[in-house]
C-alpha cells in the first residue's frame, strides 16, 4: 500500500535534520457535491514528507492532483482527514491563519504561471517580499531574477516574455522568500519539451541550493523521475512507483 510504503520511506529519511516531517497527510479525503450527487475524489490518503525531500505526484487528468496539492498547501480544507504543516494542524486554523502559516514558508509554481499582467518581471518577483514587509525587496528580486538568468528582462511585462521566460520569473518569485516548501503544479505543462527541460533543471538547481522541500505535480514521467519519491494518484488512492 502506498501509505505503508510512504511510512517506510519516512522512517528511512527521518534521520535528516528535523525530528518530525515538514508535511504530513492523515486520512485525507475530498468529496464534492456535484449535480449528480456527491463525488469522492480521493479518500484516506496518508503520507508525509521530510524537510528537503522531493515528491512527484503523477496521475491522469482529473484524478485530483491539483486538488490534493491545494489541500497540502492549505489553500483549501479536506472533507476528511487532516494536513499537518510544520507541526500545525491545518484543520484547526482558519483561512487567515493558514495564510499566515504559508507566508514566507510556502512557494508556488503554476502551470499557467499566474504572473500579474500589470507588473514588470521585477515587480512580480518583488511582490511576495513586499507583502512580507521586506524593505530590500527590489534588490532581492533583482538577484533572484539574476539566478534564473533574466537580468536583461527586469523591466519587461509578462506579455512581452515567452512562456519559458515567464515561468522563470515565476520560479524567481517562488524562491525569493526562501520558502521551506515549494508546490509546483505542472510547471512545464504549458511549455515545449526543450523549454520545459530547462525550467525543470532550474527548478531542481534552486531546490538544491535552497534546501527546499518540493512537491511537484506532473504528467511527465521523466520529470517525476528526478524527484526522490514518486507517487501515483489513481482512483482515489496513492500508489508508490516501483522505481
Amino acid at each position: 500500500m502506498a501509505s505503508a510504503l510512504a511510512t517506510a520511506r519516512d522512517s528511512v529519511n527521518d534521520s535528516s535534520s528535523a525530528g518530525s516531517p515538514i508535511l504530513q497527510a492523515r486520512g485525507l479525503g475530498m468529496r464534492f457535491n456535484a449535480p449528480e450527487g456527491p463525488i469522492s475524489l480521493f479518500e484516506n490518503l496518508d503520507f508525509s514528507i521530510d524537510a528537503g525531500d522531493s515528491l512527484a505526484i503523477l496521475g491522469t487528468s482529473g484524478s485530483g492532483k491539483s486538488t490534493l496539492l491545494g489541500l497540502l498547501a492549505g489553500l483549501d480544507l479536506p472533507t476528511a482527514g487532516s494536513v499537518v504543516m510544520d507541526s500545525h494542524d491545518l484543520n484547526r486554523l482558519d483561512e487567515d491563519a493558514r495564510a499566515q502559516l504559508r507566508a514566507g514558508r510556502v512557494g508556488f509554481v503554476f502551470q499557467s504561471f499566474h504572473l500579474l499582467p500589470g507588473l514588470t518581471a521585477l515587480e512580480n518577483v518583488m511582490l511576495p517580499a513586499e507583502l512580507a514587509g521586506d524593505s530590500r525587496a527590489r534588490e532581492h528580486a533583482a538577484s533572484a531574477l539574476d539566478q534564473v538568468g533574466l537580468t536583461p528582462r527586469l523591466g519587461h511585462y509578462p506579455a512581452q516574455l515567452s512562456g519559458g521566460e515567464q515561468q522563470r520569473v515565476a520560479l524567481a518569485r517562488a524562491f525569493i522568500t526562501a520558502p521551506r516548501i515549494l508546490f509546483a503544479d505542472e510547471p512545464t505543462g504549458n511549455l515545449d519539451h526543450t523549454t520545459g527541460e530547462q525550467i525543470i533543471d532550474l527548478l531542481f538547481d534552486l531546490n538544491r541550493d535552497h534546501g527546499t522541500t518540493l512537491i511537484l505535480v506532473t504528467h511527465d514521467q521523466a520529470v517525476a523521475a528526478r524527484c526522490a519519491r514518486v507517487t501515483y494518484l489513481r482512483e482515489g488512492r496513492l500508489m508508490a512507483d516501483s522505481q
Binding site: 491539483s66 498547501a73 487567515d96 495564510a99 508556488f108
Partner: protein
C-alpha cells in the same frame, strides 16, 4: 501604507483605474467648483446685503445720536458713521422742491460705495469721501426740477450750499415708498447750521456700524436693552429680500448640476471598479496563496482607494478651483470686485467627496476580493462568481442619497432628484429589457445568419441592457441639463417679461388719474391704475389691536405701521387663491378682504376673521374670505391686502400705476412731473437690470457645470465599452477565424451601437422630459411643456454618440487578429 501606494502606481501605469480616477476627479471638480463658488458668492451676498444698509449694522434713533454711543462703539473697535434723513424744501431763486435731505459724516458709507457724476451725462465715478462742508450733491432729476446745474447754489434752511456733483448711486437708498423724494446729500457738519432740525423734526437718525460681527452684535444688543423701543436695530438680512431669492434659485440650479455630475460619475465608478475587480481576482488569489491574509488584502485595496482619493480629490479640487474661477469670470460684474478670498474648506470638501465616492462606489465591490479563493491558482474557474452581488448597488444608492443630501442641503430636492434617477434606472432597465428580448425573439425567428442575430445586441442581451441603462443615464443627465435646463430657464425667464414694469407712479390723486392716463396714452403707454388707501389695522374681530399682544417684533411692527390697501374686481394673473373664494366678477360683492398668505400667517389672521382698518377719521370693517399667493417676481403692483370694490370707498385714497418705459424714452416722465407735480415717479429699471443679469449669468454658470456632467456621461460610455471589450476582442477574432469578413464584423458592431444608442437616447429623452416636468412643477413652480421632439432628438443624439464613442472606443477590440486566439488560449 507605502505598499498600497506602490501597488496603486503599478495599477495606474498599467492603465487600470484611469477611468475610475477620472470619474472621481470630475465628480470632485463639480462639487468643489460649486462649493467654492457658493462660499464666495455667499460672502459677496452678505457683503451686498450690508451694502444695502451701508453698514454691518445700524441703530436708528428719533433724536440726534448721542456722542457717548459713538464713543462706546469705537471703544469696541467698530467703525462708525452718522446719517440723518429728513424731508425738507430746497430753494433756488426761481424754484422750490420737496426733497429728502440726507446729512452724512466722514466714513459714510461704511459698506458699499457712492457714485457720482461731475456733470449731467458724464461717466459715473466713485467719489472719495462725502460732500465737503458747504457743498451738496443732488440726484440728477432734481437738476431738471430746479433748473440748476453743477456749480449753482441753493438754499437749505438757513444755509446756502454749492452744488458740487450729481449723486447717481447711494447704496442704502432703499426701496419702497418711504424714500421717494429726490435726494440732496450734504455734510453732517453742516447739519446744525441749516437750523432745520428743531424739536419735533421728522428726521431719522442712524448710527452706522461696521467691524467685528461679535462686537457689533454685543453693542447693538446692549443699546437695545438700555433704550428699549426708542432705538431700532437694523441688520443686513432685513435688506434686499428679492435679490437673495434670485441667488437662492441660482444656487439650486448649481446644486442640481453638481448632483447630476456626482451621480453620473458614480455610475462610471461602479462600472469601472467592477471591471477592475474582475481582473484582480486571480492576482488576489495568488497573493493569498503566497500568504496574504484577508485583512491584508482588504487593507491593500482600502489603502489604494485612500491614496487614489487623496490624489483624485486634490486634482479634482484643483480643477474645481479653476472651474469656480471660470464661473466667477462669468458673473464677475454681478458680484463686484470685493469678493472674499477663497477658503480652504472646499478642498476638504473635495477630499471628502473623493473618499465618499471611492469608499461608497468602489469599496463595496473591492471588499469582495478579499474572499477570492486561493484555490483559484490551481483551478481557474473558482471564484468567478465572486462579484455577483447586489450589495454594491445598494451601498452606491445610499451613498448617492447621502452625497445629494449633503450637497443640496434640502431634503425635498434630494428626494425628488433621487426618485427621478431611481425611477429612471428602473424604467430604463425595464424598457431596455423588453426591447432587447423582443429583438432577440424576432431575430431568432428571422434566422441564424442574419446580422441582428449575430450582433452583440441580441447575443449579449444582459450586457445590452446594462449598456442601454448606463448610456441612458448619462444621456439623460445630459438632456436634463442641455435641453430641459434650457426649457426651465426660458420658462423662468419668461416669468420676468422683457417689458416688466420699470417705472412706478405713486401719489396720483383720484382726480388726476384720467389726466395721467391720457399723458401716458399719448406716449403710447397703456396701463392699469390701482387705488391705494393707507390705513392702520385697529381691530381684529371687534377686539382693538395692541402691539403688545404680539410676540414677534415683526408682527408688532406690522400692527404699528400703515398698510397699503387696495381693491379690485378681477384677480391679477400673478395671484393665485390658495384658500377661500375670490369674490369673482359679481357686480356688487359685499365688502370683504383677500390677504396674501404669508402676511396673514404673520399677523395671525385666517379665513373668516374680521379686520378693521382706520384712515383719516374713517373706519371700515370686513371679513377675510380668501388667501392669495402672490408671485412677486412679476414686478407688477401687488398688495398684501385686497378688498372687494367699494369697500374702502369712503377712506382717503391715492392711485398708483406701473409701466415699462424703454431706457431712452424718458421725455414722458418730464412731462408728467411738470403737469402733475405731486405725482412721484420711481425708476426701478436698474433693479430689474440686475435681476436679469443674475439670471443670464447664472444660466451660463450652469452651462459650465453641465459640461462636467457631459464628461462624466462619456466616461460611463467608455466604461461600458471597456467592460465588454475583452468579449468583443475574442468574438471578433473567432469570427475572423471562422471566415467572416472584416466588413461584416464591423457591420455587426455598428448595428449593436446604433440600437443601443438609439434606444438609450430615446429612453433618456423621455425620462429627462419627465424629470424636467417634475422638477419644474415641484421646485420652481413653472409650467413645463411636454415635447416629443426631445425624445426623437434624444434617439438621434444617442445613436450618434454611441456610434462615435463606440467606434473609437471599440476600434482596438475589432482589430484583433485570429492569432490572438492561439496566443491567449
Amino acid at each position: 501604507m507605502m505598499l498600497s501606494l506602490r501597488l496603486l502606481y503599478r495599477d495606474w501605469r498599467g492603465g487600470e483605474l484611469r477611468l475610475l480616477a477620472l470619474a472621481v476627479v470630475i465628480a470632485v471638480a463639480a462639487v468643489t467648483g460649486v462649493s467654492w463658488l457658493a462660499d464666495r458668492v455667499a460672502g459677496a451676498t452678505e457683503a451686498r446685503a450690508a451694502d444695502l444698509l451701508a453698514a454691518d449694522r445700524a441703530v436708528e434713533y428719533t433724536e440726534s445720536i448721542p456722542t457717548e454711543w459713538i464713543e462706546r462703539a469705537q471703544a469696541r473697535g467698530l467703525d462708525t458713521a452718522l446719517t440723518a434723513v429728513f424731508p425738507t424744501v430746497v430753494l433756488t431763486d426761481t424754484a422750490n422742491r420737496l426733497v429728502s435731505a440726507k446729512a452724512v459724516n466722514n466714513g459714510y458709507p461704511l459698506r458699499g460705495s457712492l457714485r457720482t457724476q461731475p456733470t449731467l451725462g458724464a461717466a459715473e465715478q466713485t467719489p472719495e469721501g462725502i460732500p465737503q462742508p458747504g457743498n451738496v450733491w443732488l440726484e440728477s432729476r432734481l437738476l431738471g426740477l430746479l433748473d440748476v446745474e453743477v456749480g449753482d447754489s441753493l438754499t437749505l434752511g438757513a444755509r446756502t450750499f454749492t452744488i458740487s456733483a450729481i449723486l447717481s448711486f447711494e447704496p442704502d437708498r432703499g426701496q419702497g415708498f418711504s424714500s421717494l423724494a429726490p435726494r440732496v446729500m450734504f455734510n453732517h457738519a453742516d447739519l446744525a447750521s441749516t437750523e432745520l432740525l428743531g424739536p419735533g423734526s421728522r428726521a431719522r437718525h442712524k448710527l452706522l456700524l461696521a467691524g467685528p460681527a461679535s462686537e457689533a452684535v454685543a453693542f447693538t444688543r446692549a443699546l437695545a436693552n438700555e433704550q428699549g423701543n426708542a432705538v431700532e436695530i437694523e441688520t443686513p438680512s432685513e435688506q434686499g429680500r428679492g435679490a437673495s431669492e434670485v441667488i437662492d434659485q441660482a444656487k439650486r440650479f448649481l446644486g442640481l448640476a453638481a448632483l447630476l455630475t456626482v451621480i453620473v460619475a458614480g455610475v462610471a465608478v461602479l462600472l469601472t471598479v467592477r471591471h477592475y475587480a474582475e481582473r484582480q481576482i486571480t492576482g488576489v488569489a495568488v497573493m493569498r496563496a503566497m500568504g496574504a491574509t484577508r485583512q491584508r488584502v482588504l487593507g491593500l485595496f482600502v489603502g489604494k482607494l485612500l491614496w487614489l482619493a487623496l490624489f483624485a480629490g486634490g486634482i479634482g479640487a484643483g480643477l474645481g478651483y479653476l472651474l469656480h474661477y471660470g464661473m466667477l469670470l462669468i458673473v464677475a460684474d454681478l458680484l463686484g470686485t470685493a469678493l472674499p478670498a477663497a477658503g480652504w474648506q472646499p478642498l476638504a470638501t473635495g477630499w471628502l467627496t473623493a473618499g465618499a465616492a471611492l469608499l461608497g462606489f468602489a469599496l463595496p465591490t473591492l471588499v469582495r476580493l478579499r474572499d477570492a479563493p486561493p484555490m483559484r491558482v490551481l483551478r481557474a474557474d473558482l471564484g468567478s462568481g465572486l462579484l455577483r452581488a447586489g450589495m454594491p448597488l445598494l451601498v452606491a444608492a445610499l451613498v448617492i442619497l447621502a452625497l445629494m443630501a449633503w450637497q443640496a442641503g434640502d431634503a425635498r430636492v434630494t428626494l425628488s432628484v433621487f426618485a427621478a434617477v431611481g425611477a429612471t434606472l428602473a424604467l430604463l432597465a425595464a424598457v431596455a429589457a423588453a426591447v432587447v428580448y423582443g429583438a432577440r425573439a424576432y431575430a431568432r425567428h428571422l434566422g441564424q445568419a442574419r446580422l441582428l442575430w449575430l450582433s452583440g445586441f441580441t447575443r449579449r442581451p444582459v450586457t445590452a441592457v446594462i449598456q442601454i441603462v448606463a448610456v441612458g443615464v448619462g444621456l439623460m443627465s445630459l438632456f436634463l441639463l442641455a435641453v430641459v435646463r434650457n426649457d426651465l430657464l426660458s420658462a423662468w425667464q419668461a416669468e420676468i417679461p422683457p417689458d416688466a414694469p420699470n417705472q412706478f407712479l405713486i401719489n396720483i390723486q383720484p382726480d388726476e388719474v384720467d389726466g395721467v392716463r391720457n399723458t401716458l396714452a399719448e406716449a403710447g403707454i397703456d396701463t392699469n391704475f390701482y387705488p391705494m388707501v393707507r390705513a392702520r389695522l385697529t381691530a381684529l374681530n371687534g377686539e382693538p389691536i395692541q402691539a403688545d399682544n404680539y410676540d414677534s417684533p415683526q408682527a408688532r411692527r406690522l400692527t404699528r405701521r400703515e398698510f397699503n390697501l387696495s381693491w379690485t374686481g378681477t384677480l391679477q394673473a400673478d395671484n393665485e387663491i390658495l384658500a377661500g373664494d375670490w369674490w369673482g366678477d359679481e357686480s356688487n360683492p359685499p365688502p370683504q378682504l383677500s390677504l396674501e398668505t404669508d402676511f396673514a400667517e404673520e399677523i395671525g389672521v385666517g379665513l373668516g376673521d374680521e379686520l378693521t382698518f382706520a384712515s383719516g377719521g374713517g373706519q371700515v370693517s370686513a371679513a377675510v374670505t380668501s388667501l392669495r399667493e402672490v408671485r412677486w417676481e412679476s414686478f407688477n403692483v401687488n398688495f398684501f391686502v385686497l378688498a372687494s370694490p367699494e369697500t374702502f370707498n369712503d377712506l382717503p385714497q391715492t392711485w398708483l400705476t406701473s409701466f415699462y418705459l424703454p431706457e431712452n424714452e424718458t421725455a414722458v416722465l418730464n412731462t408728467l412731473i411738470r403737469e402733475f407735480p405731486s405725482v412721484t415717479p420711481i425708476d426701478v429699471s436698474s433693479v430689474l437690470r440686475i435681476v436679469r443679469t443674475i439670471i443670464d449669468q447664472g444660466s451660463s454658470v450652469v452651462e459650465l457645470m453641465s459640461l462636467l456632467t457631459l464628461a462624466a456621461g462619456v466616461l460611463v460610455l467608455l466604461a461600458a465599452l471597456q467592460i465588454t471589450g475583452e468579449e468583443r476582442r475574442f468574438e471578433s477574432a473567432l469570427l475572423r477565424a471562422l471566415g467572416a469578413r472584416g466588413r461584416r464584423i464591423r457591420a455587426m458592431a455598428r448595428l449593436e451601437f446604433w440600437l443601443v444608442g438609439a434606444i438609450a437616447g430615446a429612453l433618456a429623452g423621455l425620462a429627462a422630459t419627465a424629470a424636467g416636468m417634475v422638477v419644474a412643477e415641484t421646485l420652481f413652480n413653472l409650467d413645463y411643456p411636454f415635447r416629443p421632439m426631445t425624445i426623437i432628438a434624444g434617439a438621434g443624439v444617442g445613436l450618434v454618440t454611441v456610434w462615435v464613442a463606440g467606434a473609437l472606443g471599440a476600434r482596438r477590440y475589432y482589430r484583433a487578429s485570429p492569432m490572438r486566439l492561439l496566443r491567449e488560449g
